[in-house]
């Protein structure tokens, strides 16, 4: 039993996948060509770089919409990495995870957008940009009533 289970456990790691494939099933479908493997490595490195850049914007971002946008793009990077790992490992069980993470990112973006929209008119809204509210004209909306104690 253990001897049957061990290759499966080894196959869970990306580095151990070729060795486990040789040990477990000799009739396994032929793996990717060298060009595709190199492309997979490049894609993983590039997507990691993109995730670092998104994290920088997530930490740095001066306003809340910046952070929400960075989180949305981060979720999309996770989906992309799942797809690249599907190609690399030649295993299709991750595709449901890709769809689930995509839906989760979309729903969280919509939720945060609703939150920003709902708390926009408050005098001390926690968006971090209350210092200079005069850069944008409030187009398409009724003029907001100033709170009694707030400066005009």
């Amino acid at each position: 039993m253990t001897a049957d289970l061990l290759p499966l456990l080894l196959a869970a790691g990306a580095d151990a996948a070729p060795a486990a494939g040789h040990a477990a099933d000799a009739g396994h479908q032929s793996s990717a060509t060298t060009v595709l493997l190199l492309a997979c490595y490049t894609a993983l490195a590039g997507l990691g770089l993109g995730m670092v850049l998104c994290l920088w914007r997530l930490v740095r971002g001066p306003s809340l919409p910046d952070r929400v946008l960075a989180a949305d793009l981060l979720a999309l990077h996770v989906v992309a990495i799942v797809v690249v790992l599907t190609i690399y490992l030649h295993d299709t069980v991750f595709f449901e995870a890709a769809l689930a993470v995509g839906i989760l990112g979309f729903v969280s973006t919509v939720g945060f957008a609703q939150y920003i929209h709902a708390t926009a008119g408050q005098p001390h809204h926690p968006h971090g940009n209350a210092a200079d509210p005069d850069h944008v004209r409030p187009v398409g909306h009724a003029p907001q009533q100033a709170a009694p104690g707030a400066p005009a």
Binding site: S30, A32, T33, V35, L36, L38, A39, C40, T42, A43, L47, L49, G50, M51, L53, C54, R57, S63, P65, D66, V68, L69, A70, D72, L73, L76, V79, A80, V83, V84, T86, I87, H90, T92, F95, E96, A98, L99, G102, I103, F106, T109, V110, F112, A113, Q114, I116, H117, A120, G121, H125, H127, N129, D132, P133, H135, V136, P138, V139, H141
Partner: protein, 107 residues
């Protein structure tokens, strides 16, 4: 034939990767939140399409074709909707615009 489709998959993969990296660079480098939304939403949609086409080329349409198509259609609907909602919310929250924005461009 396998080599041909794998090379095609590698090309799609690198194209999608290029789009993703450009989008992430735009999110870091562009001046305000509306420019960053412009960079993030479109480039990530196109990049994800490239990656899913690469997966379909490598694994075959019977394995992941329908799922890849589902993800593609969902992202093509969800990404513009989410970005539009976020842009409207940012506009309502009076997020500062870039100083070079023309007057009346926010409408």
């Amino acid at each position: 034939m396998n080599t041909f489709f794998d090379t095609l998959a590698a090309l799609f993969l690198l194209g999608g990767l290029f789009s993703f990296v450009v989008g992430a660079l735009g999110v870091v480098r562009l001046p305000d939140v509306y420019h960053r939304l412009h960079a993030a939403s479109k480039s990530s949609t196109v990049g994800m399409m490239g990656l899913l086409l690469a997966a379909t080329c490598h694994l075959g349409t019977t394995e992941v074709g329908v799922k890849a198509l589902m993800v593609m259609v969902f992202l093509f609907v969800a990404n513009p909707v989410g970005s539009h909602l976020l842009a409207k919310a940012a506009l309502k929250a009076k997020t500062p615009v870039w100083e070079g924005t023309l007057e009346g461009d926010q409408e």
